[in-house]
Amino acid sequence: MSVLANNHQVQSFFSCRDLNAYYGESYVVQGVSFDIPEGEIVALLGRNGAGKSSTLRTIARANQPALTSGEIWLNGQAMHTMETYEAARNGIQLVCEDRRIIPGVTVEDNLTLAQIAEPIGWDKERVYSHFPRLAERRKQEASSLSGGEQQMLSVARALCRDVKLLLLDEPYEGLAPVIVQEIERMLQEVKKMGITTIIVEQNAVAALKLADHAIIIDTGEIVFTGTAQEVLDNQALREEYLAV
């Protein structure tokens, strides 16, 4: 099993150890540990409020929730000692829940903002050839894009960084089924690029179709690790932990 919980001694490409994080008094990430080998995609699943997004934000070194103890290692580097922007410069890219497109500036400006700090990943021409819709709308005010286009832009923006670990927080949230299919196709392409990824998604089946492995989290703690297929095959497990 390539996704291992607790006390795994071998240094993986990505590894988090006994993460504990709080929103104020609220204990939202409780001793979470797991490893991911390079190039694999892990679906982090759980009910609403189980602590999935909080875990992603903790790994991305956001100020909130505050990481009180634990270690985060990426490609041999200690991310838990870094500020948010330093973690981003060292390869962590969080594609946020609700997209977080910068309003008041253009689509192209949103991409430019991802290319300010070194090291950068894709140049704009590569982004536009992969996402022709964004090329058409490059001069458009970014917040005027449709939900699907905004999701496209937020993934493209992450690819403009030299990304080693991609964190996708609810990429299908709030999108019409036809748009979800389009974003699924886009994420399948991202998968082919071999970028190590953690995907958090309420739509567990959609996430498991993309992922190699799955972790189920409940009230801030890991309750299951295994292959994506194991979760798809185990209806009792899905009903116990993934029913809304």
Partner: protein, 300 residues
């Protein structure tokens, strides 16, 4: 009282523009700092106070040219030091804490300057090229008879226009400006993209102080050089920021001119002239709580 002649109307327009220019210069720094750092800096008036005292001292000792170079530079450094030494510790504290600490700092600065320079007004010698009057009737043929306006006050208006244009150009035509504008909308997202936004915001604090420095060099001869000037200008300038929309630069410009004009056109009645700014604030906040040009979602 409303039978204004064309000459009187024109003069009040100019006076409003000149009063608005000072408000705009101070409010521009205030709104930049509030928009980026979310800090209500009540010490901003005190920065203007430091600037006018530095300007008058350097002007006397080394001439106006040196004052023009040195005062904004010193204020920029002072702004950086203030942000690093004090303000940064209040980013995550409530606005009331920020107001208390910056207001306290303003009083300390005011009293220190009173201790060093005394409580009386210090005359600010205008350089020879800025002395004298402009014959307005030669420029504007529709004026009747002989109409003059102090040259220095017109220079202040021009300096204000140039400064505002420079700040807008910096914010809209440079990558630094793009980062700042984006940071005003979502600073956390910029950090997720690897941008050290706090370092840029520190520079913005310095920039806000630098603008107070420019305001001090050109505004000192107009507003006088006395310890109360900082506080006298702070309240109207803060209200300009509120009326314009917290964090909106074009809002600050529009509101600054509006307030300057309102005060100038009500100057015939000292009571009305004093309360007009508060009346406008109440009306604007009732009709449009985010201010005239406040962006949706910014500090709403």
């Amino acid at each position: 009282m409303f039978d204004l002649s064309i000459n009187a109307f024109f003069m009040q327009l100019l006076t409003g523009l000149q009063m608005g220019s000072i408000y705009v210069l101070i409010a521009l720094g205030l709104t930049l700092i509030f928009g980026t750092l979310g800090v209500v800096n009540f010490a901003h008036g005190a920065l203007y106070l430091v600037a006018i005292y530095l300007a008058v001292s350097i002007n006397d000792a080394m001439g106006f040219g040196m004052a023009l170079v040195l005062v904004p530079t010193i204020l920029f450094i002072l702004g950086l030091a203030m942000e690093r030494g004090l303000i940064q510790f209040f980013y995550n504290r409530p606005h009331t804490d920020q107001i208390l600490v910056t207001f306290g700092l303003a009083i300390v600065i005011q009293e220190l300057l009173k201790w060093v320079f005394g409580a009386n007004n210090i005359p600010f010698a205008i350089p020879s090229w800025g002395n004298g009057i402009i014959l307005m009737h030669e420029w504007f043929p529709f004026l009747e008879g002989f109409v003059v306006y102090p040259k220095w006050r017109m220079i202040l208006v021009v300096v204000s226009i140039v400064t505002v244009s420079a700040v807008f150009a910096l914010l809209h035509w440079t990558t630094f400006g793009l980062v700042i504008r984006a940071g005003m909308r979502d600073s956390e997202m910029l950090q997720f993209l690897g941008v050290n936004i706090n370092r840029r915001f520190m520079i913005v604090f310095g920039l806000g102080s630098l603008i107070a420095g420019i305001a001090g060099v050109f505004g000192g001869p107009v507003t006088q050089v006395s310890p109360e000037v900082g506080m006298h200008l702070l309240v109207p300038s803060f209200l300009v920021v509120v009326i314009g929309g917290m964090g909106s630069l074009s809002g600050a410009v529009l509101a600054g001119i509006l307030i300057g004009m309102a005060q100038s056109f009500t100057a015939y009645d000292i009571n009305l002239s004093t309360i007009i700014i508060y009346l406008i604030t109440v009306i604007v906040l009732l009709v449009r709580p985010r201010g005239l040009l406040g962006a949706k979602g910014v500090f709403e």
